[in-house]
């Protein structure tokens, strides 16, 4: 498939804009082919208007048809074959194996949402039957379900060019919910975005979905994204990226004439707590494991562990030695010059602070955007005096904080802002002794991990990839896992409706065979059989 550099607006390609930008190979610094056109405001408007008109039809597609469409997107992505992986590798410097794995995750995610839609119970169908004889007033027949919001704006992320980008979790869950989607592709991998976008556009045609169910605009400038979020017909926003970017969209969305929800996942420092028994028992293993989690994907994960609290100083030596040794190897090449620069500034800021020791510093390769991993070490007193040490430095770095008492650990945990994850390593006795830590952490994060590492986010029914602000702008939601679909729907209630005007999910015979709450009890049985 040829890459054109155009916007994908419904089933046509459009390159009205005179501004162009390019993909850059992070390893060589070479400019990759083709000229990508910056979307104009007119093109954004056209894409959203098409999404709005397609929504009228798309929102009422059957569960079977929408599921088949999601499966077809997955098929079409696989059909791109090696050319997708090759282009993506050129644009991101991510290893081929990682990209193949990420492609697998992306298509599995689409297929999982297809299953959720086909099964159908996600709509939270509820039926309260009429009681015409109730005293003092009769009770009407009232039925409830989730209905799609409308056209959704999705912002691709730089660090997951497949799984959190054009056909990533936001797009998959929005389409699954019955929303149409306009994606703003991330400018760090525009060729990958166009390939994936074309696979989705082809699936729209293959499955006879209305034109405009999916569109994609590209651009380097913030204006393109601003025009999209500010458009009257956009009803929600999905975003994965930096705090600055997510917060700007959140503020913009709240200033609209009609404010809309922004589901921005903005990353975090993902604190890790290593309790004394675990440290004594398996310090070396923990050091190696942590190094692996810090350096995975050149540290470019939202769940990268950037802050590690240690409880005992006299038993840490094996841990520190193993961690340092593992870190001192080569780190790798970052995704973009901007990310590399921000990383270098972030680690300089930390190492320039007084009373912070650079425990380990990885080698750099020759490549253009190569960086070395870093591990810093400081006391809890110094950490308390320098709260910015808790701020995220996106990349393969981490700050070890030496705390010696349980009280100081609990105090530090209480002072944490919102994060995506927290991790606790402990023996059975440790976990018993530090039970209070969990009570604190459950208010601070979306996911708590015991004796594991935060990187590696399972796409499943029970995943929460989210957390209190500033990790996200929407702490009551998740951006990974099947519950992500609920971000793009809202409840609608139908009172005293004739049966044939109700959505199938709410009709007496339960033609969709879904779980429903009828008069307060969960059942799959038709109303007639109760």
């Amino acid at each position: 498939m040829q890459i054109s550099g155009a916007q994908l607006i419904g089933n046509k390609k459009s390159n009205q804009g005179s501004q162009v930008f390019h993909a850059v190979n992070p390893v060589t610094g070479d400019i990759l082919e083709v000229d990508f056109h910056e979307a104009t405001h007119e093109e954004v408007d056209e894409a959203v208007k098409l999404a709005r008109s397609a929504f009228e039809t798309y929102k009422n597609t059957s569960n079977q048809d929408r599921a088949a469409f999601l499966d077809k997107i997955a098929d079409n992505i696989m059909a791109l074959g090696d050319s997708l992986i090759e282009r993506c590798q050129q644009e991101t410097a991510l290893p081929t194996g990682r990209l193949q794995g990420e492609r697998g995750r992306t298509v599995n995610q689409l297929r999982l949402f297809a299953e959720v839609v086909r099964e159908g119970s996600w709509v939270d169908a509820r039926i309260d039957l009429a009681k015409p004889d109730r005293q003092p007033l009769p009770k009407a027949d009232i039925r409830h379900m989730l209905r799609p919001l409308g056209p959704v704006a999705v912002f691709g992320a730089s660090n997951f060019p497949l799984a959190f980008s054009v056909a990533g979790g936001d797009t998959a869950s929005a389409l699954a919910a019955g929303c149409t989607v306009v994606v703003k592709g991330h400018p760090a991998h525009p060729g990958t975005s166009e390939l994936i976008g074309s696979a989705i556009a082809k699936a729209v045609a293959d499955c006879g979905m209305p034109e405009g169910t999916f569109s994609m605009v590209q651009g380097m400038s913030h204006e393109t994204g601003g025009a999209l979020v500010g458009h009257d017909s956009i009803t929600a926003v999905g975003f994965t990226g930096s705090f600055r970017g997510g917060k700007a969209l959140f503020d913009l969305a709240n200033r609209r004439h009609v404010p809309i929800p922004v589901f921005a996942e903005m990353g975090s420092t993902n604190p890790v707590f290593i309790l004394p028994g675990a440290m004594a028992e398996r310090g070396e293993e923990l050091g190696k494991g942590l190094a692996g989690s810090i350096t995975l994907g050149v540290g470019q994960f939202c769940t990268n562990p950037g802050l590690v609290f240690l409880t005992e100083s006299d038993k840490n030596e094996h841990f520190k030695a193993a961690l340092s040794e593992a870190i001192n190897g080569e780190a790798g090449t970052m995704l973009t010059r901007g990310i590399r620069n921000a990383y270098e500034q972030g680690v300089s800021k930390i190492s320039d602070k007084g009373a912070v020791e650079t425990l380990a510093s990885g080698a750099k390769s020759e490549s253009e955007l190569a960086v070395g991993s870093k591990v810093f070490y400081t006391s809890i007193d110094n950490f308390e005096k320098n709260p910015d040490l808790a701020e995220e430095v996106f990349g393969p770095s981490s700050v070890l904080v030496q705390a010696n008492t349980k009280a100081s650990i609990l105090k530090a945990a209480s002072a944490l802002e919102g994060h995506l994850t927290a991790t606790v390593h402990g023996t059975e006795a440790d976990l018993e002794e530090f039970a209070d830590l969990f009570t604190i952490l459950e208010e601070k994060v979306g996911r708590i991990i015991v004796n594991g590492f935060p990187t590696g986010v399972e796409v499943c029914h029970s995943m929460v990839h989210g957390g209190p602000y500033p990790a996200t702008t929407a702490p009551q939601s998740t951006s990974v896992g099947t519950n992500a679909i609920k971000r793009f729907a809202r409840p609608v209630c139908y009172q005293s409706f004739p049966m044939h005007l109700l959505p199938t999910a709410l009709q007496d015979p339960n033609p969709d065979s879904i779980w429903r709450m009828i008069d307060g009890s969960m059942t799959k049985r038709p109303v007639e059989e109760l």
Copy 2:
């Protein structure tokens, strides 16, 4: 029970403030006893800090204990007896029968939430079991449930002094979710607020809940509410009231260092569509029914029908005559001077417009804050030229809009902003012909009613009392019905936890006997039996 005029902060009464205000009898204009003290910022701070510390314990109360507490609040409200109804009647001018009914609704709502908590499945428990042998990577044990947010600020409404006030739906659902609550009582009925607040405070003590589980502050000024919403330890806001009030809190909450969700229900105009067959068949009945809905509670309902679209002009005479006759009776006394003044200004603004006919104008009684009901009549052309005719005038008034074609009805529906409800009256043939109308309306409102009236909001599992902005600031939620509990919780995910550290809802044996999603399937069975 004596009314003291003090704030209820945990189990003590506090009257630090030097500013006082009074309740006023809307019928006589008389000032009612006692001096109510405006809460100081220090008192607000104390209440929130106590709520924060109580949350540590309260969030982990068992389902049984929390349910018993909610039931006890209901008991204690009933135990206030006639003195509650009498004081409330003096403060609101609402008839005794209405207040007795509203008290019934309030305690039934508390008991319904007690049932929901006792049953326990609302937490959306999800378990994905470990698969240690999965290739290429093992799958960890991951479990998910909703956990309470933290201390919640609740703003009482003027128009439901019991059911949407101190022990109303927001307080009941927040306490049910496991959140502690600080209420800002509505200054129009401070004595009622204190009586109810004391009943809740007594239930806290009766049930051995931690002090600070509930507090209440009072005040006329916006500053008290602002201090509450701006407090670092407040995690969410429940509000029912005017657009201006709700929007101000929404903006304030979004400007915080840590933005928090605001569930503001701000009312709406609740459009009604009367289709031609229904008009021909039962115009007179519809006129009478609509008049009842417009004037119910002196029109002081969020779901009051303020906008009525008519489709046929030549068959409307019976309808218009019946409506006018019913409206021309006495309306009643409004809740406060502010509401009365806003109503008089609102109806003047409409009647002063060109091409708007005053179809009916009800008589006023002698009482201080009495108003007459109003029905206006205009053409759809004029309505389109004057979009402010669609704005809510809180009180017993409604604007009839004469449209003659289906196309003009659909166009008007498409142009609607967000509302709580929409109502369609039609014969079977009408509903068939106007099927497109429902497709439009489901994007505009939280609840659609066929052949009924929007006033009268059933408290049940399937109710949606909510809707797109500007009806609410949180279109993905409801403020009435059992789903309201979900506003005050967020998902937390537990990865690889030892069984005894998990909340009971997620433990293998399912000790709470709740519905759970295990590996994607709904079941109440323990994990061991799968």
